[in-house]
Assembly symmetry: C2
Homo-oligomer: 228 residues x 2
DNA sequence: CGGTATTTTGAAAGCTCTCAAGGGCCGTGG
DNA sequence: CCACGGCCCTTGAGAGCTTTCAAAATACCG
């Protein structure tokens, strides 16, 4: 979610540029051997994971975001990466990155940190969704997108959804109809305007409040530190 | 979820052993500066994340499992780690591990892989839960626990739950009552026996089937590979 | 311009939550 | 050792939310 394109472009000779992907074209397919990490340069991708019985929309990727970190551990991409629109990416062969980390503590920490960050933010996001109502999930989703667009230098209040309502529904673990109804509800309340895929975030505070609202508050345990 | 205790104990001088933690005692508190990764040696821990408005039960850790990987990226533990019972852990100061990776490609890859694996399996788990009914969530939870105990050399069919129903509920994003009712339903159907915290998995195939059952099946995109 | 995919809306069924109450278990203190 | 209090677990009933099924309106692509 940060803009490290410039940082990484300094690693001379480790980058490959792809020809543009057309809409619906796939960058990698689930099960392909892991070779590289990618960074979205323009457009957007979705990660789709098919597992016995069901297919999951695991993630959306916008420009500047790293894709493929979850393929490191067993050398296989766990899901297909599909372009939501005409998109371009650049590729970092992992063995090159790895070689560079030997003598570069800064890069090594950057890589660790980046993976760890992904781990945590994904976890947090899914945890947040788990206990929430459909309205809260959608509000959270929109705010999250808004934030990401904003960090790219675009407006946080007006942007275009790269994905279909169906994609959003699967991503949030809801039915398409539920998304549609929530959208209508939000518009009726004047919180957003959504014509086609053009979003206007009209009442950000209300959306944030909705996104934050939860259902329950469990207790915590004691707090005694262990001696070292 | 693997047994790397022996592997890691070969890294002489980088391990510290803690005195046992009593039930409800905390190993680290949310916001503490990140210094180390831990491995559970005996007992079990839960990770609790308090965020504006709500508290989440983010994870359970059994013996052999690594704890604290999610603290790497911004040098802070994102949640409190609390013992569910009398427990022992060993500690790996991160800067020591990091220093070791400089000249040890095997360890470096192990660390990368371990973090990446965590990233993926957590993601997969939460994704699975998102679109599922309460029965499916509980069945999945029990099967997951069973698997983990089995890998530790214990029976996959009989084990003791280290956590309360309330903990399970918060972990799965459900109400306690929903868990309780699901348990009763499972027992009525002869799928499990659960007296106090003693679990008997009576009909594993049925539980697995339940855990796998989902609600929807989204479509996938095209499959055209990009030239390199 | 036609065909297909996407989106919206309605109505009924199903699932989960909330609120309430009763019983059981455990650890502590007397 | 027993009694007490607090936490944990279970169950019932009604309300609220989400899904499913069906159908119509709209947008997009070639």
């Amino acid at each position: 979610m940060s803009h490290d394109i410039d940082d990484i472009e300094t690693f001379d000779g480790t980058i490959h540029f792809h020809r543009p992907l057309r809409k619906r074209e796939s960058l990698v397919r689930q099960g392909d051997p892991f070779t590289s990490i990618f960074m979205v340069r323009s457009g957007s991708l979705k990660q789709v994971i098919a597992e016995e019985g069901d297919t999951q929309l695991a993630n959306f990727y916008l420009p500047g975001e790293l894709v493929g970190l979850d393929g490191i551990h067993d050398s296989v991409y766990p899901g297909s990466l599909i372009a939501l629109e005409t998109s371009t990416v650049c590729e970092f062969p992992f063995h090159r990155l790895d070689a560079l980390t030997v003598n570069d503590a800064k890069l090594r920490h950057y890589l660790y940190g980046r993976i760890s960050k992904e781990l945590r933010s994904e976890h947090r996001l899914l945890r947040l969704l788990l206990g929430k109502t459909s309205d809260a999930r959608l509000a959270f989703f929109l705010c999250h997108l808004s934030e990401r667009f904003h960090r790219l230098g675009f407006s946080a209040h007006r942007f275009r959804l790269p994905m279909t309502r169906t994609d959003i529904a699967h991503y949030l673990g809801l039915a398409v109809e539920t998304i549609s109804r929530a959208v209508s509800r939000f518009q009726r309340k004047g919180m957003i305007s959504l014509i086609g895929r053009e979003v206007h975030m009209l009442d950000m505070p209300a959306l944030v409040a909705l996104a934050t609202g939860t259902r329950e508050i469990p207790p915590a345990g004691h707090r005694v530190h262990v001696s070292r």
